[in-house]
C-alpha cells in the first residue's frame, strides 16, 4: 500500500504490521471515528431541522424537513456571536502561550534532580491539586484584590497553570531529556535560562504540543470563568454564551412557580432547540479546523534528534 507520505526508509518498511492487521486496525478506528462523528451529525441535523418537524417526526440523523431557521437566528445574533468567537480566540491564544511558558518552566525546574528547592516547589505544585480555598475566596481574591473582574484576564490567568500539566511536563522532561545533555551544557557554562530556551524547549516539541493542546482546549471549552467573573456580557466567550442559552431554558422551567403569570411570556422569548444546536456547531467547527495543526507533532513521527546516540 502506498501512502501519500512518500517512501519510508527501508527499515521502517520492513518493520511494519501485516496487511491483515493493518486492515483490522483500520476497521476498529473507523468504528470509533463513526461513534464520535455520528453524535455531532445529530447536532447538525437538529440545527437544520424545523421545530415543527422535530415535534411531529422526532429526531433523526438526517433532517426530514430542512430548515435554515436556526442559522438565520445565528446570523441575526451575528454581532454577539462573532464577538464571543473573538473573545474565545483571543483568550485561547493568549492563555495557551502564557500557560505553556509558565507550565514548562516550572516543569523543567522540577525535573532537575539536583535542584535544592525541588522539595518545596513539588509541594507548592502538589497541594493545590487536592486543596483549594473554594469558589468564594478565589472569587474574592481574583475580583477584589487582583482586580480581574470584567476583564479578559479573569478568563486567562486563573486557568493558566494546572498542577496536572506541570506534573505531566516534569515527567516528560525526566523521561526524555538525558541528564548528561544538561550537565554538559552546564559544564560549558550555559545559564539555566539558556539551557531551558535553547536546549530543552527545541527538543521537547511533543511536550509543548501536548501541554499547548490541553491548555488550548481547556480555554476553548471553559464557560465557568465567564459566568463568574464577567458581568459585561460583551466579554462572554462562545462556550459561555452557549451554556447560558442552554441553561436559561432549564432555569426558567424550574422557577416557573415563582414567576407566576410572566412565565409563558418569558419562555416564548427563549431561542429554539435548533438554534442552540447551531451554536454548538459554531463551537466545534473551528476546533476541527485547528486540531491538525497540533496533530502534526504527535503522529508525523517527529523524532528527537538530540537524544540519538
Amino acid at each position: 500500500m502506498k501512502t501519500g507520505a512518500g517512501y519510508e526508509t527501508g527499515l521502517d518498511k520492513f518493520n511494519r504490521i501485516g496487511a491483515v492487521t493493518n486492515w483490522g486496525f483500520h476497521l476498529i478506528f473507523i468504528l470509533l471515528a463513526l461513534l464520535c462523528l455520528i453524535p455531532v451529525l445529530v447536532v447538525l441535523s437538529i440545527s437544520l431541522t424545523g421545530e415543527e418537524s422535530i415535534r411531529n417526526d422526532g429526531y433523526s440523523l438526517f433532517p426530514k424537513a430542512f430548515s435554515g431557521e436556526a442559522y438565520q437566528y445565528i446570523a441575526q445574533q451575528g454581532q454577539m456571536i462573532t464577538r464571543a468567537l473573538g473573545v474565545s480566540v483571543l483568550v485561547t491564544a493568549l492563555g495557551t502561550v502564557l500557560g505553556v511558558v509558565l507550565t514548562t518552566s516550572m516543569g523543567y525546574v522540577l525535573s532537575r534532580p539536583n535542584y535544592k528547592l525541588k522539595g518545596l516547589l513539588t509541594w507548592i505544585v502538589f497541594i493545590p491539586m487536592v486543596f483549594n480555598g473554594g469558589l468564594v475566596s478565589s472569587y474574592y481574591i481574583n475580583s477584589n484584590m487582583l482586580g480581574l473582574k470584567d476583564t479578559v484576564w479573569a478568563l486567562i490567568l486563573p486557568l493558566a497553570v494546572s498542577s496536572f500539566n506541570v506534573i505531566i511536563c516534569k515527567t516528560f522532561f525526566r523521561s526524555t531529556i538525558p541528564d548528561a545533555l544538561i550537565e554538559s551544557a552546564e559544564i560549558d557554562g550555559a545559564g539555566q535560562l539558556r539551557i531551558y530556551c535553547s536546549i530543552v524547549l527545541p527538543i521537547s516539541l511533543p511536550v509543548l504540543a501536548t501541554i499547548g493542546l490541553f491548555l488550548c482546549f481547556a480555554y476553548w471549552n471553559d464557560w465557568f470563568q465567564s459566568m463568574l467573573y464577567i458581568d459585561n456580557q460583551n466579554l462572554y466567550s462562545l462556550q459561555a454564551l452557549l451554556n447560558s442559552l442552554m441553561s436559561n431554558v432549564d432555569a426558567l422551567a424550574r422557577n416557573a412557580s415563582s414567576m407566576g403569570i410572566s412565565y409563558a411570556e418569558l419562555v416564548a422569548t427563549m431561542p429554539k432547540e435548533s438554534a442552540r444546536m447551531a451554536v454548538a456547531i459554531v463551537i466545534v467547527v473551528p476546533v476541527a479546523i485547528a486540531y491538525p495543526f497540533f496533530q502534526k507533532y504527535f503522529i508525523s513521527g517527529l523524532t528527537i534528534g538530540a537524544v540519538k546516540g
Binding site: V136, I141, L228, N248, Y263, A264, L266, T269
Partner: protein, 502 residues
C-alpha cells in the same frame, strides 16, 4: 496609586489571615482571635476605596435576573438614567445575571460582600440572605423616606416580606396572590363536549381526558407534563412557609396552623393516585419525569393566570382558542408574595436613594415601561401614551416581573387593555393563607433541610408526574424523610409558627 496600595494592604491582610488560619488549624482556635485584629484594620481600608466622589449623582448597582444582554442595552440604560437623574438625582447600573447563572452568581456576590445597592431575590434565597445579614432593615426607612411606595403596596403584601417582623425588601406588587387556572384547547372542548363548569377537582378531569385519549389515538397524551413543573399547582392547598419542601406544609385554611406531613394527607394521596392512574393509562406522557421542555401547544394544562391571559398563550403556542377556568384562589401566601422582591444591601451607602429609585419604578409609568420593555423607538413604541405599547424586538433581557408593580405598566398591544385591572381585582379578592407573613427560619436547621430536600429530590419528579405508585412510594418517602430529619423540621416549624402568631 492609593488604590494599588490598598490592594497590597488587603493582600497582606489575606496573607496574615492565611497564617492565622493555618495556625488555627494546627493549634487551638483561641490563638487565632488576637492575631486577626491587625488584618481587620487592613480590610477596612480596602473597603473605603469603594466610596465614590461626593456631590455627584450617585449610580446605584442593581443586580437582577434576565436573558442575554443585547447590543443596545447600554443605550437603553443611558436613556433611563437621563430621565431619573433629572427626576430624583439617581442613576442606575443594571447588572444582569443570566437565568441559569443567577444562583451561583448571586450567591458569590452576596458571600464575598461585593458592593451592590439593590438586588432582585425570591423565596428560594430571601430568608437565608436576610439571616446572613446581607440586606438592610427597611421597616422604618420605607415609611419615612418613601411614604408613597409604602402606601401604594397593600399591607398584606408588605407582611409577606417580613422576616422576624421586619421588612427587608420591596415586594413587586403584581400577581402577588396566586390564582390557578385549568386550560383546555377549545378544539377538544367542542369535539368531546366537555363541560368545564362541572370541573372542580382533579377527579373531574378523568372523563374528559379519557375521552380525548380514546378519540385521538395511542401516541396522543392529553395531559403532557414536564419534570420541573409536574402538575402545576399540585400543592397549592398547602402553605410551604417558604421552605420549598412540599412534604411539609400548613393547610392554607387551617385556623389552628398545624404543620403537617403533606404527602400523607388524604386529599393529596387521592390526587397522587389519580395521577398515577393516568400515567398508567397513557393519559400522561411516559417521559414526563425526565422531559424538561414543555410542548408548545398542549391540549390541557394548569397554570397561574388572570382573566384574559389566554390571549398571549394563543399567540405563543399557535393554538386558535384556549378556554380557561379558575380552579383555585386567589390567595396570598408568604411564598407567592416572595416570588419577586428587591432588597437593598446592608452595606449600601445609598439606601435612601435606592428606596427612592424603587419608589419611582413603582409609581412612574415612563420609567416602568423603559425598564420592562427597553429602548423607546427600538425595542418598543408607545401606542397609547404610556398605557399601551407595541414591542418591536424580542431581545430585551429584563423581565418585568422582577422590577416593580404591574399596575403602572403598559399593556402590550393585542393583550386585553384591562389586563392589569383584572390582576388587581384578583389581588383585591384574594383571601390570605392563615400563615401569611410567616417564613420559616432555617438557620439552625441547615443539616435537616439539606438532607430532606435531597430525599425529596430523589422521588419528586416521578411522584408528581404520576410515574410512581403513591401507595407504595409515599410510605417509603415519608420514612426516608423522617430519617433525614423531617420530624425535627416539623417540630421546629410548629414552634416558630406558635411564637410568631402568639
Amino acid at each position: 496609586m492609593t488604590k494599588t496600595k490598598k490592594k497590597w494592604l488587603a493582600m497582606g491582610a489575606a496573607a496574615a489571615l492565611l497564617t492565622t488560619a493555618l495556625a488555627g488549624c494546627g493549634n487551638s482556635n483561641s490563638k487565632s482571635e488576637p492575631s486577626s485584629s491587625p488584618s481587620s484594620a487592613g480590610t477596612q481600608t480596602a473597603e473605603a476605596s469603594q466610596s465614590a466622589g461626593s456631590g455627584e449623582v450617585p449610580t446605584l448597582v442593581w443586580w437582577t435576573i434576565g436573558g442575554q444582554v443585547p447590543a443596545n442595552f447600554d443605550k437603553a440604560i443611558a436613556a433611563m438614567n437621563e430621565y431619573t437623574a433629572e427626576k430624583i438625582g439617581v442613576k442606575i447600573d443594571i447588572k444582569v445575571a443570566n437565568w441559569g447563572d443567577w444562583d451561583t452568581k448571586i450567591n458569590t456576590i452576596v458571600n464575598t460582600g461585593e458592593p451592590f445597592d439593590i438586588m432582585f431575590t425570591n423565596n428560594s434565597k430571601y430568608s437565608q440572605q436576610v439571616n446572613m445579614g446581607a440586606f438592610a432593615d427597611l421597616t422604618d426607612l420605607v415609611q419615612s423616606e418613601t411614604p408613597d411606595l409604602y402606601d401604594f403596596i397593600p399591607q398584606k403584601v408588605w407582611d409577606g416580606t417580613k422576616i422576624g417582623g421586619k421588612i427587608y425588601s420591596v415586594p413587586t406588587y403584581k400577581d402577588s396572590s396566586l390564582t390557578q387556572y385549568w386550560v383546555f384547547d377549545d378544539k377538544y372542548i367542542q369535539k368531546y363536549g366537555i363541560d368545564t363548569s362541572s370541573i372542580k377537582k382533579l377527579q373531574d378531569l378523568d372523563k374528559p381526558l379519557r375521552d380525548m385519549k380514546a378519540g385521538e389515538g395511542k401516541s396522543f397524551y392529553p395531559l403532557s407534563l414536564t419534570q420541573g413543573d409536574g402538575f402545576n399547582g399540585f400543592f397549592n392547598g398547602y402553605d410551604d412557609m417558604t421552605l420549598g419542601l412540599p412534604p411539609i406544609g400548613v393547610k392554607v385554611d387551617d385556623a389552628s396552623r398545624k404543620a403537617v406531613s403533606v404527602l400523607e394527607q388524604p386529599d393529596v394521596m387521592n390526587d397522587l393516585k389519580q395521577l398515577h392512574q393516568w400515567y398508567k393509562d397513557g393519559i400522561i406522557n411516559p417521559d414526563a419525569p425526565t422531559k424538561t421542555e414543555a410542548e408548545r401547544a398542549r391540549p390541557f394544562f394548569a397554570a397561574q393566570a388572570f382573566p384574559g391571559a389566554e390571549a398571549s398563550w394563543q399567540i405563543t403556542s399557535g393554538v386558535e382558542k384556549y378556554t380557561m377556568f379558575q380552579i383555585f384562589g386567589p390567595i396570598y401566601t408568604t411564598s407567592t408574595i416572595q416570588g419577586s422582591l428587591n432588597a437593598i444591601s446592608a452595606n449600601s451607602k445609598y439606601k435612601n436613594e435606592a428606596l427612592k429609585y424603587l419608589q419611582l419604578v413603582n409609581t412612574d409609568s415612563k420609567l416602568r415601561n423603559m425598564l420592562a420593555f427597553g429602548q423607546l423607538g427600538v425595542d418598543y413604541n408607545n401606542v397609547d401614551g404610556e398605557k399601551v405599547i407595541e414591542r418591536t424586538s424580542d431581545t430585551w433581557p429584563l423581565a418585568a416581573y422582577t422590577q416593580g408593580t404591574f399596575f403602572n405598566l403598559a399593556v402590550t398591544k393585542g393583550a386585553p387593555v384591562d389586563q392589569w385591572d383584572q390582576v388587581r381585582k384578583l389581588n383585591d379578592q384574594a383571601t390570605s393563607s392563615t400563615n401569611l407573613g410567616f417564613a420559616l427560619d432555617i438557620s439552625e436547621l441547615g443539616t435537616e433541610v439539606a438532607n430532606t430536600k435531597a430525599v425529596w429530590d430523589k422521588y419528586r419528579y416521578e411522584l408528581l408526574t404520576g410515574a410512581s405508585d403513591p401507595e407504595k412510594m409515599v410510605p417509603r418517602i415519608v420514612a426516608e424523610l423522617k430519617a433525614a430529619g423531617l420530624d425535627k423540621l416539623m417540630t421546629a416549624a410548629q414552634e416558630q409558627i406558635d411564637t410568631y402568631f402568639k
